[in-house]
Symmetry: C2
Subunit: 281 residues, 2 copies
């Protein structure tokens, strides 16, 4: 396993791999790796000749009041996990390397960031699409692996790749959960024990909502209310949003129909957690 | 010489070329090819194993009141010229192929479009950076050839490629001119004979300005005034702008210093012409 910090070196390495006809799989992360990342890496390892992991806490996708500085980092642990998952290359650039003085260019996907986390985190998704554009150009992967847990991010990146014509396939990998149902997230490390206990309620409420739909409920207002009630009853959380959206356009639905994502964001103390579940109605 | 209209076919072809270790040169154009394009193609042919030309009149870089519909097109002529310049592949996609229904993604370079043509053509440079991003992802060239005639476009694209990390070198090729000094442009075909005669004054005024600077003049106000007077005296043109800007930041200068571009845009009848000259002071 090699750790590379220079863009030029990555370009050279990728160019050689292409000449050798190697298939490149890529897992972009912000590090502090957990079982969710491991699932992406395992799939990537299985399906490609070259398995590349990037670790970069991207300042452009954090708002000024958000947790960029305190976002958890642990290079030693990440390297150990990457080695265990047989990663070939870790791309580990500095902020200065990715955003040198005089940096000016941004990628924007219209409308898809108008809902869910978009309005609550202004600029976040432009930060995401911009860094992913850079990483795609540096690594030129055949396949990009993303987690379903960040559902809106996955939809936006897939749309961007389709629109901007990289020859890259996107694979969305199912959310990995703790036995309690809590979705794996680097930000779970912020949670106190009581908060972590309460956090189980998120996925439980999403499963309840899915069952309601499967039992015939089609009014999204009713579904959102019941999720909200369950979270209020079992946690001290402040709900940021609960929404039922079309899985492709991310537009909120009054009536459940077709392929739907039920998504939520809540604050448990200072920690913002997101989760989602998919239903076909 | 092959003409390809499908993005997927281009991806396949480029991927094969990469496996064969071929160096790819790329000249993006809107067609109606002239001696300026031919100079780009000749350089591209000389320096690469695969010489790819794209022809696509990009609707996203035209304003609603601009000349998208009447922009000159002549596929037969373009193919003949391309063949003569030993182009390997013409990429010739439809608007529907490049911007299918539901298209949402745009690339924006900050500040560099705040001057010169930027404020006069709102959205133009976002259209340019977006289509060039798409073409770079489709063709994945080692070298991209651009004309110095579109100076602001060249600076913006070079910045974008640097910022977004494609492994692509940019080469800017000197403006090709008619014997009269008029810069080659597909839009010259709009000019009546009297307008074409008057259009000589543009480059003549730029050369005059360069000589003034070389003789020691440093006040950009004086230089712009003299250019304006010369154009007013010799043409019926309406001046859109005359500006002395820093060659890297494109910021207008009060005092000429360093690497400078003197750029202008004028309307001759309904036709908008641009030209520029570089000076080091």
């Amino acid at each position: 396993m090699k750790t590379i910090t220079s863009i030029h070196q990555m370009h050279e390495l990728v160019s050689l791999a292409k000449r050798q006809g190697k298939k490149i799989g890529f897992v972009p992360t912000m590090g502090y790796l957990h079982a969710g990342h491991a699932a992406l890496l395992r799939q990537c390892r299985k399906e490609n000749n070259l398995c590349i992991l990037s670790i970069f806490v991207n300042p452009k996708q954090f708002g000024p009041a958000e947790d960029f500085r305190r976002y958890p980092r642990n290079k030693k642990h990440d390297e150990m996990l990457a080695k265990k998952e047989k990663v070939d290359i870790i791309f580990y650039p500095s902020v200065k390397t990715m955003y040198p003085t005089g940096y000016l260019t941004y990628v924007h996907v219209r409308t898809l960031a108008d809902h869910l986390c978009g309005p609550r985190r202004p600029g976040h998704f432009d930060g995401v699409t911009t860094i992913v554009t850079k990483l795609l150009n540096i690594i030129n992967p055949d396949v990009l692996y993303l987690g379903q847990k960040d559902a809106q991010q996955a939809v936006i990146i897939a749309q961007m790749i389709d629109d901007l014509n990289w020859p890259t396939r996107v694979k969305i990998i199912a959310t990995v959960r703790e036995p309690s149902g809590l979705a794996m997230s680097s930000r779970n490390s912020y949670l106190s024990d009581p908060e972590r206990y309460q956090a189980q309620a998120l996925y439980r409420s999403l499963r309840m909502a899915k069952k309601l739909i499967q039992a015939g409920e089609r009014r999204s207002g009713t579904i959102k209310q019941k999720i909200n009630a369950q979270i209020k009853k079992n946690t001290l959380a402040r709900v940021d949003y609960i929404e039922c959206v079309d899985a492709k356009t991310l537009v909120p639905l009054r009536t459940i129909k077709g392929h739907v994502i039920i998504a939520l964001a809540v604050f448990l103390g200072k920690t913002r957690l997101i989760d989602n579940i998919q239903v076909r109605a």
